[in-house]
């Protein structure tokens, strides 16, 4: 046993020396990477660590942080009903808009793939525009206005489906579905672009080989040839979808107000904002951030291991 450990240490030492020598000969590389690495560590890596640390403290900016153990998490899960409501809403939105948006992205990328080139370019612009047009979703507050002047109310009343205007964005019953609709409208984003580009890159000769081997229709072609070829893009698109689905807050805040009626449109991120920047309970907000972080990473890992099986 002792011998084994000594051997292990010697090997490690050797490895380290080799790495060190290599690093020395590549000084230029580190110099090139340094600006990015420093900023990235400062604004992405360190904040995650700091967030985990603060989540175990009581911290309100004025006093220095005081260690309180798991208290923040305990109150979050056991006492904070609004947080649980936020978790529920976030999950509802994520479970519905995440997969649906992802499938839509792929489906439309695949459908427009065979169009003539200029039509495809136009189609990409139209489909991608909502997600890039920033705050364009506020226009939906005009469509879903609560009085008879709102387009949706007016249309439904004309058709005789409803007889009084509905308060779409104030009534808790309708808030979440409307938000989901808007999020879906915006869901053809970065992943969609990746799919469009990836589909163009699939080797044509594979399709021809497929015809020879008796691929009968476009669905078989999709499953046996296109999808396996698209795996890296599918992974990338999944990451984008998940990140977006869990980070939902802009749309709900813009459409349903902040805070919304009965907190019906509260999400985890809105709750984080509330505690972080309205009440300045930084420790508590960091506990929320940590939970959100863990949820996203775990979900990503799970989906990735699932996608690895596509076409195998």
């Amino acid at each position: 046993m002792k011998e084994y450990i000594q051997k292990y240490i010697a090997l490690r030492k050797h490895d380290m020396q080799v790495a060190w020598r290599k690093a020395k000969s590549r000084k230029m590389c580190y110099l090139f990477l340094a600006p990015y690495a420093i900023l990235f560590t400062m604004f992405f890596v360190f904040p995650v660590v700091a967030s985990i640390y603060y989540s175990f403290t009581y911290y309100n900016i004025l006093e220095s942080p005081r260690f309180i153990g798991l208290q923040n998490y305990i109150s979050l899960i056991l006492e904070d009903d609004i947080f649980l409501l936020g978790v529920k809403n976030t999950f509802m939105i994520a479970i519905i808009t995440g997969p649906l948006g992802y499938i839509m992205s792929f489906l439309f990328a695949w459908l427009i793939n065979e169009l003539p080139r200029w039509v495809r370019s136009v189609a990409v612009i139209i489909f991608y525009a909502p997600s890039i047009a920033g705050n364009c979703y506020v226009i939906f507050s005009v469509f879903f206005r609560g009085d008879a002047y709102g387009y949706v109310n007016a249309a439904l009343m004309n058709m005789g489906i409803i007889d009084t205007p509905k308060l779409w964005l104030i009534d808790p019953k309708y808030m979440l579905p409307i938000c989901m609709l808007v999020i879906l409208w915006m869901s053809l984003g970065t992943g969609f672009l990746s799919f469009v580009a990836g589909l163009q890159g699939v080797d044509r000769s594979q399709f021809e080989a497929g015809y020879m081997d008796g691929v009968k229709n476009r669905w078989q072609e999709l499953w046996y040839i296109t999808l396996p070829n698209m795996k890296p893009m599918l992974m990338f698109g999944a990451v984008m979808s998940i990140t977006q689905a869990f980070g939902v807050c802009d749309v709900t805040m813009a459409l349903c107000g902040y805070p919304s009626t009965d907190y019906a449109a509260r999400t985890i991120v809105t709750h984080l904002y509330d505690y972080g920047f309205s009440r300045f309970e930084m420790g508590y907000a960091c506990a929320i951030a940590t939970i959100l972080f863990l949820m996203m990473i775990l979900c990503n890992k799970a989906i990735q291991s699932l996608l690895r099986r596509v076409g195998t």
Binding site: V138, I139, A197, N217, M296
Partner: protein, 299 residues
Amino acid sequence: MSKRKNGAVDKPYRKPLIKKRKPNRSIAGDIALYLFLAIVAFIMAFPIIYAVNSALKPLDELFKFPPRVFAQHPTLDNFSDLFVTMGKSWVSFSRYLFNTVFITAAGTAGHLMIASMGAFVLAKYEFPGNQTFFKIVTVAMMFTGYVTQIPNYLILNKLGWIDTYWAIIVPAFASPMGLFLMKQFMEGLPTSLIEAAKIDGANEWKVFSGIVMPNVKPAWMTLIIFSVQALWNNKASTYIYSEERKTLVYALQQIQSGGIARTGQGAAVLVVVMIVPIIIFIFSESQILETMASSGLKD
């Protein structure tokens, strides 16, 4: 997929389409598909068309009942109103516009420079820590910026950058998405190109600025569009308090909450906010798609 090691020469997006129809397609299916696509495209575009039209409507048309989608007598009054009436308010509209343009331009330029330098060595050189660092960057794409917002606030506070432009600009330099896409695209560059330059006696900086950067122009556009999109739409209200340093999106929300009298101007600002990223995208679409072809995540 076959690895396109010489991706810079072989451009997958530019490949000519096969002219003849694929043998396993039915005509009825094709027609149904086109019809379906046309309907969906209309639904997707409708809110944007509506927004543009309401910005062009004169005041009396805005409140017409029943409302119409298209403006009958389009004017640019709403846009000029932005500068005229808002010019008299405490912080003029042009100031908001300047803030956003400045933040976007500075943040994008810095991001392009810094991320490309990092991506270059990550893609083309082997050194200890290379793989690990890139893996961490990929993980960082998996969570949203909201997670890090509070510690970021504390850090920016320590640096004394709260309520300055730097609070928005500098964190944008390190956006993981840009580095990721740039690195993936640079991997497609033939290594022989770099080796040849080295034999000619060019140092790393010369290789980077003289050979690599001019060859990855499609990726520039991609970094630019993602960075512009993020910065142009940045509300920045958590890090910036002073009214004269707030951004366009913030102004948009202020104007929209200004009530009915500001409806036309609100629509005009909305168009200004959304049109810039869309126009950049329209002009750089093919280059962006070329970059995205190498965006896949390999395990």
